[in-house]
Symmetry: C2
């Protein structure tokens, strides 16, 4: 770690070796003009290294004299020692301006799943276990059936009673026993409740394979399907892959998918198409993790109610008709092969239960995976996206609303909006006197547009600097070419055409701001409505769990500033990424989740 | 009923109205020469109706004078009143000869399954039940998922707890509920033990269908596959059909099937071929019973260990290799559709457990279906066929042997042997002085050959008449053209060429007798060996259960005479027909069998 001090601000922070200097400034709230996103081409982010050492920072924008005086381009500099860095601010900027700089950027703490933690918390009940057995070989005096030999030995030597044996195992066992010279590994799938049913023997493998045990976790989204390959011994994710749901060509949202499913052959087609995508994801994560597919024991799937019914070929027509009744909210464990998954016959498919037509298994998975359902204090869970879900509650009760936020958070409906990929402006700061921006893009390349988290930060920053008012309108009286009306629409120029990848100005228009306001308004209203239903106010919320595709880069204070999030201590905000996928992974690792989930859906 | 008295024998019996006169004579042990099998063409079976009235009995073999004197052909006469019938015997036959006539024919009492009897005995635990429900329609205030509505109502109003819902039901329920205006019938499959697991909802149908509930029972034999369609409300068999197992072209016995299964693709092929036959049988019995396939809830299958493994695509190679280990003796309940049965997705397939490689589910089914496992007294169960099985025991213990009897009982290895179909000689008597035969064929047509039960009766009769000795050799010194040597092989002519359908003499040769002796010897040795194992003798056997294709027509006293059956009171012998099929039917009707069967296989 190195300490960096910025002058004349006299603000410091610790960063890791090799950190990019302009990102360090942004995180600390130190503004440095920069309009090429960090690509090194605008040459505006000149700083003077007064003490210490950086790698890089040199470009044709700096001549030898500049270099000799210690000038470097901040966006090209990697921190290699403690540093004192002077930002050559305009003399007109006085101390009060410096104090008006925004606070340090606060992003949410990322919450993952750690197996050791689950064990410590008493939450670890492995749903799948492997047992290594050295069986006596059969003889004329002992010619029990292969399965009886296995079951008998598990009873006698491992105290395993009430076992059920899958047909897939009966089909494999004769060859496996003899290949392994009667030394084999048996895979047992435990009932949800201890002592509450039979354990199933789902696989047998020759030799000792107890060290290898895997599962697939999957988020079956309307737009995207993500899969993870989980190592059940270590709890690690070995591979992850996401792909667009092939159903997109049959409609972008669940309603249009349901409409298509009602046509002759439509349900069958949508079922086949989503299975194709799921199988593609399965193939990718198996190939990437380089495991033997025979070592996979379960696949856990979470999706909204419509996606779940389409995947299982259950007619979803009543989901879109009043009174909005799903076929089922619970599904039994299913054989993966017979459902059409390209997985071995030993694999059990577990499908996350839903609450109702519009509170699906995806949000239930998020509530389970994040541990919210075990929370003591009042918690707000927000899955931010086009279809945003909000859950409020704790271990005693839960209330959920689904909000149609629109696509603004994913860059949709924004003139130069884009997904959070390379070239998207993800961070923004402004010089309060000159109104010159400091922008950073994903990948430090010239900007192409703005992503959801960039949008939130930019709008919040412009609002805090008084450049937009609380109606979301630009101050028409500021003396800068960056604020202008084009064809009667007011906008702020984040980057001039020459500094972009797209050959035109990257702008943020008032209609863009309107879209963001509506999106955050939808979520805020959802939150307030839920709170009102249970007689609470926004001030009662003590903790926030953020989920969704872009949440990890949201500047929490900015998100609170625009009213997207209620104001709580940023320390009390965690980000879990794809909540649905996290829930699916969590269920793969411990039966505690499946034990609790039915009660949770009833809460 | 009518009383018939035969003169000069002065023997009488009661027969049903319409009984064939020659069959009545045969049953009573009255010999009448008859060599055309009852077809009415040889004209030898002339009798005089002295009192009473018959229908028919007239042919061109009788002229007007004969008719006026009361002559009729016995084989063409149906009894319509009490009768006195004179057999015009040769005057040389004196009283002592008449007294040497064989005793009345004693066939086994036929034991079937009656639902009321099961209820009376406390054995009736229906494995499948239907419940009619009138559910409240959903509303904005009550928009539970369809499945939750059903399950909730079953809990509240029918006290049904711990229910599991099949995916097939989830797929059907939205349409079925709305088609039936929320009045539906749910089909529940009960766990084997009351309170010992969850009941599964396997089907839903619109309206009240509680009066219609069906099952399929099937015997998957090496040679033949029989299916029955069972009405679970009445216990009746609505349709039955049997067909040759398509696997026959891949080998006649289980060993050659196993050899074929070991070739590349062989197991898959044999699996497909047996499924084709099974599905053909399923289609036939559904069509014949005119039921809706959606009303079938279970299929129960019994077969020997090899047939079961081939049907379930489980490699049988170790069955034919020392120490003869099957893959499994127990199978879990399976989904019929995913196994490849042409039955609805609601159907559960139940497979009979086996004891070992050569004591299969077919014999276990016979033991269960016949109720032998509940017997107080020592019982001998014999399934007579090419692969004959013998079980000895009672409610406390059971011992089983499989005997390779060879195909003699099914007409195989016998020069003019045939299956028990139309044209087969099934009954035989002989005039002890003239050595002329009395033969009756199945269907009363001219003979084509001799079936298993005919073979037993003929050999026993010839032995009792002193025509063959206890080595199975013909007496070479008798004055009759019917006993002769052809190409050095001695034989008895049952029917001359002109009186047959095949244009050549129907004969019984000494090698034929040898084959029968070996077959019955195998079974007798099996019985003695079993008894010796448990320290008992043949005299301890108090009761016999006969099973197999031809057993119903076996003359018990004849079978005891040749040593095929131990001598017990014929009243204590029952015939159950196809024991494997009976067991499958019994399991369809009551869970008591499935509850008991695992314990029985351990006995």
């Amino acid at each position: 770690m190195h300490k960096i001090r910025f002058l004349p601000h006299n603000k410091a922070l610790d960063v890791e070796d090799g950190e990019n200097l302009i990102r360090a400034a942004m995180d600390l709230g130190v503004h440095i003009n920069a309009s090429c996103g960090g690509a090194g081409v605008c040459g505006k982010c000149r700083v003077i290294i007064e003490e210490g050492k950086v790698d890089g920072g040199i470009s044709e924008k700096l001549d030898e004299k500049d270099l000799a005086r210690g000038y470097r381009q901040a966006c090209l500099s990697q921190v290699k020692s403690d540093l004192t860095v002077r930002v050559p601010v305009d003399s007109a900027i006085d101390a009060s301006v410096l104090e008006r700089q925004t606070t340090s950027r606060r992003i949410a703490h990322i919450q993952g799943i750690k197996l050791e933690e689950l064990k410590d918390k008493g939450l670890f009940f492995p749903p799948v276990e492997k047992k290594y057995l050295e069986l006596p070989a059969p003889s004329a005096q002992d010619n029990l059936a292969d399965v009886s030999r296995l079951v008998g030995f598990l009873k006698l030597s491992h105290d395993e009673h009430r076992l059920e044996v899958d047909l897939a195992v009966i089909r494999k066992i004769p060859a496996v026993l003899r290949e392994g010279d009667f030394k084999i590994t048996a895979t047992l799938v435990r009932p949800v409740r201890e002592g509450g049913g039979r354990a199933r023997i789902v696989n047998v493998q020759p030799g000792d394979k107890t060290g290898r045990n895997f599962a697939v976790a999957m988020d079956v989204g309307t737009t995207t399907i993500y899969g993870q390959l989980i190592d059940l011994i270590t709890g690690h994710t070995l591979a992850q892959y996401g792909d667009f749901n092939g159903q997109i060509s049959y409609g972008e949202d669940v309603i249009s998918r349901i409409v298509y499913a009602e046509k002759p052959g439509g349900l069958q087609r949508l079922h086949e198409v989503v299975m194709e995508t799921i199988n593609k994801v399965i193939h990718k994560i198996i190939a990437r993790s380089k495991i033997d597919p025979d070592e996979i024991s379960t696949i856990t799937l979470a999706g909204n109610t419509t996606m779940t019914q389409l995947m299982l070929k259950v007619d979803p027509r009543n989901i879109r008709r009043s009174p909005y009744v799903p076929a089922s909210t619970l599904y039994p464990p299913l054989n993966a092969t017979s459902l059409g998954f390209d997985l071995g016959d030993q694999v059990t498919a577990l499908v996350y239960p839903a609450v109702s037509s519009y509170v699906g298994g995806d949000i239930v998975a998020g509530v389970m995976g994040s541990g919210m359902y075990r929370a003591e204090e009042l918690t707000l869970y927000m899955d931010i996206g086009t279809n945003a879900e909000i859950v409020i509650g704790n271990k005693d009760w839960l209330a959920c609303a689904a909000c149609s936020a629109g696509p603004a958070f994913e860059g949709g409906g924004i003139k130069l909006g884009m997904r959070a990929v390379k070239g998207a402006i993800e961070d923004f700061s402004i010089d309060p006197l000159t109104f010159e921006p400091m922008i950073i893009t994903i990948g430090n390349v010239k900007p192409k547009g703005i992503c959801g988290s960039g949008l939130i930060t930019t709008v919040a920053t412009l609002f805090e600097a008084g450049i937009i008012d609380n109606m979301g309108k630009y101050n028409r009286d500021l003396n800068t070419p960056r604020i202008r009306a084009t064809d009667g629409i007011w906008e702020y120029v984040l980057a001039w055409a020459a500094e972009t990848q797209i050959g035109k100005d990257v702008v943020l228009t008032e209609p863009d701001i309107d879209n963001l306001v509506r999106a955050k308004g939808a979520m805020y209203s959802g939150t307030l409505t839920l709170l009102e239903e249970v007689g609470l106010t926004i001030n009662n919320i003590k903790r926030i769990i953020l989920a969704g595709g872009f949440g990890s880069y949201v500047d929490l204070e900015k998100a609170m500033a625009i009213g997207l999030l209620p104001e709580v201590d940023p320390q009390r905000v965690v980000f879990i990424g794809n909540g649905s996928l996290m829930g699916a992974k969590m269920s793969s690792l411990t039966n505690r989740i499946r034990r609790d989930v039915v009660e949770v859906t009833k809460k």
